[in-house]
Symmetry: C2
Subunit: 477 residues, 2 copies
Amino acid sequence: MASEKEVSNGVEWRIKIADGSSERLVPEANPASRLLLGLKSFVVGLALKVWKFLQKAWDLGVDDPRKVIHCLKVGTALAVVSLFYYTRPLYEGVGKNAAMWAIMTVVVVFENSVGATLYKSLNRVCGTFLAGFFALGVHSVASQSGQRFEPIIVGASVFLLASAATFSRFIPSVKARFDYGAMIFILTFSLVSVSGYREDKLFELAHHRISTIIIGTSLCIIISMLICPIWAGQELYTLTTRNMDKLATSLDGCVEEYFKDSGSVVESNKECHKKLQGYKCVLISKAAEESMANFARWEPGHGPFNFRHPWQQYLKIGSSMRSCAYCLEALNGCINSENQAPEYIKKHLNNSSLKVSSNSSSVIRELEITIKTMKKSSNIHSLVGEMNSAVQELQNDLKSLPKLFNPPSIPEADTPENKKIEPISRTMVKMPLMEIVPLLTLASLLIEIATRISGIVDAVEELENLAKFKRASNDKC
Amino acid sequence: MASEKEVSNGVEWRIKIADGSSERLVPEANPASRLLLGLKSFVVGLALKVWKFLQKAWDLGVDDPRKVIHCLKVGTALAVVSLFYYTRPLYEGVGKNAAMWAIMTVVVVFENSVGATLYKSLNRVCGTFLAGFFALGVHSVASQSGQRFEPIIVGASVFLLASAATFSRFIPSVKARFDYGAMIFILTFSLVSVSGYREDKLFELAHHRISTIIIGTSLCIIISMLICPIWAGQELYTLTTRNMDKLATSLDGCVEEYFKDSGSVVESNKECHKKLQGYKCVLISKAAEESMANFARWEPGHGPFNFRHPWQQYLKIGSSMRSCAYCLEALNGCINSENQAPEYIKKHLNNSSLKVSSNSSSVIRELEITIKTMKKSSNIHSLVGEMNSAVQELQNDLKSLPKLFNPPSIPEADTPENKKIEPISRTMVKMPLMEIVPLLTLASLLIEIATRISGIVDAVEELENLAKFKRASNDKC
């Protein structure tokens, strides 16, 4: 049995011996060729893996060419910084280890978006400056207190300030804006104050570090802002509007899918399914939105956005969209439920439900346009009104639903119209309520979604006021 | 009016003049004292802000003392590393700039959890090693190609490799595990290959860098693992079980809250409201779970966890919990709806709904215990069975609900029990369905939640198999 484990790949020949056991027939048993075979399959497997990896990378690049451009930008920045080292005069000017700091700055600070680069650059410069200042102060106190106490004072100050700065990184408001700065503060303070003990030219060291860091960060900022800039604010704005579009499409699609004749189910293809699942993007984009909003606040005015554009408001819009998406998730569960209402009951709510969903999605689309054009919508209120009246209509249809269950008990209702309903309602008396529960849940969730959409409207209106959107030119009122 | 704006803080005395205008009475109008006053209020305001900030920081420390311990650990590590600089022999041993690399390593690599520290340490060491190897190769090629081509070759290689490594950071599988390593690769490669042009002792430089980085990382790993270690895996495990508890409590609480007599609404205090909102923690913990799972895989076995504990499975459990929490969010919306079913209809579904919610939360609590004790539960299947039968019961109650609407039309149903229902159902014939829609939605969402809980059960069972949980000792079967 042990021999079976040894050869796990390839065909195997066996011969049965009289005593019942079997023996393996090995065509070429010499270990060298087996090693070669194993090595060959290993290399082929590795090559296949590498090929798949490269293919994935290629797809990623084709999918978003800006990523490729970013990589070339980083390469360019590093190549330019290397010039400082190659060119003798510059090299002499900023000191021996200076080029190293410039290279390090470029590698560490250059981020994908302008906002992130600015955040890191400013944090690095300020952190270095502040730490240098503190370290020089500690150094001057320590150097006056004698050879014996000097290391103790320096060590204690490193311990205390590093602990305090590390702790500050846990405080949410500091973490959001100055996390990197606090790290650089610890780094620079430790380096400068510890070097102070050995180095005579402490001031020169601090000066060189600061100047090379400023050179490195300026280069990064210039390159990231001038060559195909990727603005975090713009990204956040695009993400928000794209999520609104996806939410509207999903909402429309889910309700349509539910009320569609069961005959045409075959039509629903993969593309359609993907559209229906668009709301899931809304559910998972919280972290991305937060980091973008954090970076966007460092960016100067760009495109249609001012320097102090209210980016935080986009987070509120995102969170109100998510609260809609939660309901849509639950609604999706109902749609896939086993219990399905009979067609004629469905038909009763068909029109009003579709009206609510299409009016709701129109409101979302109008909000999308409001944000896209950055102009106050002139007809958002009428759209919200339409949505609310559609909700009212759906509620009325729900109210009239029991008629289908209850045969009219009062003879005066014996109009021709009621006569038509009579035979249906008779057959329905025994119909279990259970079958229409998913339908009612759908209706109820649609109403809830419409309520939550009002929350998005409020959030967008707050954005309009904060960012001082102008009225649209085709304003009728 | 302009003068009013100037003095915005402090009490102001005004005198009315005959022509109707008023004039400000300024006790001491000289600018020096006003400046002093302004400065004073600024300092007081600043002191207040700082005080508030410190108070917040203090609360943070009291809330989670491990954060304070982490800060002291970082301080200790930095103080120890400083010894390398203070102690002459060590200082001579590793070269002039070496201490700097050790300090830098400690500052950059020391993270809150052991997993994160290990991730950064291993990435730093491997990235440096690989980059040093590449850089030496490029250097040997460049140095043989003459003085003129040397900078071109070095520059081009920096550009190409930096671009490629930056691009690799966009690939999800690389980003999850080797993001930091790729950055260190770029950094080290640029530094070593650019230094190679000037520095004669390139090999020595690379060797010193590697050795000091190994010293720094070892120190960080030892301190983070030995002094009050915070394991990312343990954190993920705690987060998962705590979220399960919150989900179960919310589910129970929400349904109880809905069916509670309206008279006792006043009882619901802040504490209770907080409990009901527990599911929101489940909704927002995706990012935290992912980063913890990423770090946990670097950790060696600790506590009850092996080295290759299936941490990724916790993400699946988390995501199935979130899909429950979405429904709970929608359910919460229904509970706060304006339309409320009348008490007697509520009573009809009261028992079965409460049974579904309590049985569902029992299943979640059992799963929590399974994960907490890391032992296969012996009665999870019976609990799931109970949950399903409760769902069946609720469905039966829903089925019998139309009876309340329809007076029994067939005389044979004239049992004493039906006689009791009769007078109620007579009054209900005209009751709009609208009023019971929230109740039906609640029931339907409860059923959906029970279905999704089966998803959590499956995910936990997969974890049981992957992590080879043993059977509980009080196993009856």
